[in-house]
């Protein structure tokens, strides 16, 4: 079930430096969005910029028919989005794409959620679902990374869930100094990432995803990644969001918007 309609902005609040959480009244997305899925949003009536933009769903409030996304106001589109006030409307198409797959939800399974910057919101929705599914909180490990403390997203929300949470910043302003893969390496060296009982889920910049995918492959850890590309249509039609994947015959293209955005990390041809 998905919709394409003008929806009312309920709230648009700053959550960190240049970061906002926009809450939108859209019962279809509020009821049906799954962790990893996204919506296409359009805020302007003119043709600059022309296309909608994809945003992963962060929180769902089915009882009041709302959902929210977190975004960084850094480009023309997101600055326009930041200017949207409660009562105004945005055009929403969604929910779109596939979802993170929670495999083997056995008690002994360790779920490692690796977030980079504004890649954190869909992983928060995933962690929230895992908790609701009854997965023990100590079996949910979140490695939340950013360049600086003020760019770290959803940290307090993960903390409220009571999951095993690591913060990592490149400048060391909060948590571990370094990159998310440094924390993964450290966990692995301590024997805390058993390859036969561990699932990695990653969302963030492509370079981070590639590094996480390489780490997972090296240690035989199953890993799902959320691919970020320009998605002009979001419906699998324009083929502008193609992701190169391995096939038995060699390589092919899949569409990030409908075959993804979640892919098995071993399937993606990186670089």
């Amino acid at each position: 079930m998905r919709c394409a309609e003008h929806c009312e902005v309920v709230a648009n609040r700053p959550v960190a430096t240049n970061q906002f959480e926009i809450e939108i009244h859209c019962p279809t997305v509020a009821l049906h969005a799954q962790p990893g899925q996204f919506v296409q949003m359009r805020v302007q009536s003119g043709y600059e910029p022309l296309f909608s933009r994809p945003f992963s769903v962060f929180r769902r409030f089915p009882d009041r028919g709302n959902f929210s996304v977190v975004y960084l106001a850094r480009g023309t589109f997101t600055r326009m989005l930041a200017g949207k006030k409660p009562g105004e409307t945005v055009f929403v198409v969604g929910p779109l794409g596939n979802r993170f797959s929670v495999r083997q939800p056995a008690n002994e399974m360790l779920h490692v959620l690796v977030a980079g910057g504004v890649g954190a919101p869909p992983l928060y929705l995933l962690a929230e679902e895992m908790v609701q599914l009854g997965i023990p909180r100590h079996r949910i490990v979140v490695v939340n990374g950013a360049r600086r403390q003020d760019l770290l997203v959803c940290q307090e929300h993960f903390a409220e869930l009571g999951v095993h949470l690591w913060a990592v910043t490149e400048d060391g302003s909060l948590g571990e100094r370094g990159k998310v893969t440094d924390v993964l390496k450290s966990l692995y060296q301590r024997g805390e990432l058993p390859h036969d009982r561990c699932q990695v889920y990653a969302c963030g910049p492509t370079a981070m995803l590639e590094a996480v995918a390489q780490f997972a492959q090296k240690h035989a850890l199953p890993c799902q990644v959320s691919m970020e590309t320009l998605m002009p249509c979001g419906l699998g039609v324009c083929l502008g969001c193609a992701v190169k994947v391995r096939t038995a015959e060699g390589a092919d293209y899949k569409r990030a918007c409908v075959d993804g955005p979640i892919f098995d990390a071993t399937e993606v041809v990186w670089g």
């Binding site: 022309l50 296309f51 002009p232 419906l235 039609v237």
Partner: protein, 312 residues
């Protein structure tokens, strides 16, 4: 509310209304079916179809530009056999026309495609893509050289009884020359325009933005150019025209009808608003009522010269 007649005949092709969705912007229809009532469309021009499946060009292959976009998809598609087997059964459920856009690298490929699709249930017309700018061979070559245009259309005409639409390239000096060549070859209908060849450069990285360097420009940025070409061709040939190029709303569509198009195709706008084709249809009907017109055919080609204004 008074009812206006929306049925149009494009040569042998009958459409319940003049609003189509352009090839490559609406997939095989199923992608939009839960958001758009396909039964209300005049027709669907399906994704460019080749003899064999194609993977398409390397990424990145789409770039947003000023009021438009450049694409170099490279005709990624499932191939004609998979289209007939896997995609057509879905489309047969609907009453809108199904127009298959065919693309070949050679005369023979075009002929084989036409022959394969001739008589296939649920295919109502062929649109020959002789103007795709994103192929290494074939594609645009047939569309820019009038002799090649005439010859490829002539050969396809001999292989099919289906209504034959020829999609013209705007990347020529005088589009009317190629329009006449297509009609000479046997085209029942002309559709125009395909995308304009362009490129985009990232000044920061000093690199082209598309892996293929060039792509086809579409979107509202090209509307004035497309509109002019439709008007030019409408003066030059007698066959019906399907106008397209940057149609974003009903007013844009009406402008193409006034310029001489008998039908319109909505393209890039489908990416921006999945329901735009229905909005365009409803908007044309509303326009006709407001203008006191009873039949959409009555406004085709009725644009008049503007009156000279006061000088400042």
């Amino acid at each position: 509310m008074s009812k206006v007649k929306m049925e149009v005949h494009l040569g042998p092709l009958r459409l319940q209304n003049p609003v189509l969705v352009a090839s490559g912007t609406f997939g095989y229809g199923s992608e939009y079916a839960d958001l758009v009532d396909l039964n209300r469309l005049g027709g669907i021009m399906v994704k460019g179809t080749t003899l064999h499946p194609r993977a398409g060009n390397p990424m990145p292959r789409m770039v947003e530009t000023a009021a438009g976009c450049l694409n170099s998809i490279g005709l990624q598609n499932v191939g004609v056999e998979a289209f007939i087997r896997e995609k057509l059964p879905f489309l047969r459920q609907y009453r809108c026309a199904v127009i298959v856009n065919i693309a070949g690298d050679s005369y023979e490929e075009f002929e084989q495609l036409a022959e394969r699709l001739d008589g296939v249930e649920g295919v109502h017309a062929l649109e020959m893509n002789i103007s795709c700018p994103n192929q290494e061979k074939g594609g645009i070559h047939f569309g820019v050289d009038p002799e090649s245009t005439r010859e490829v259309v002539r050969r396809v005409r001999q292989r099919t009884r289906l209504p034959l639409i020829v999609k013209l390239s705007p990347n020529v000096t005088d589009i009317t020359v190629n329009a006449r060549a297509a009609v000479d070859g046997g085209a029942d209908v002309l559709s125009l325009v395909n995308t304009f060849v362009g490129t985009a450069i990232d000044a920061k990285t000093r690199r082209f933005k598309l892996a293929n360097i060039t792509g086809g420009l579409s979107g509202p940025a090209i509307k004035p150019l497309a509109l002019y070409m439709v008007w030019q061709v409408a003066q030059a040939v007698k066959v019906p025209i399907i106008g397209m190029g940057g149609i974003m709303n009903a007013t844009d569509a009406v402008e193409f009808l006034l310029a001489g198009a008998s039908a319109v195709a909505v393209g890039t706008a489908n990416y921006v608003n999945p329901r735009v084709s229905i909005e365009v249809l409803e908007g044309i009907e509303q326009y006709l009522r407001e203008q006191g017109e009873t039949d959409v055919k009555h406004i085709v080609g009725t644009v008049k010269r503007c009156k000279p204004g006061n000088e400042f």
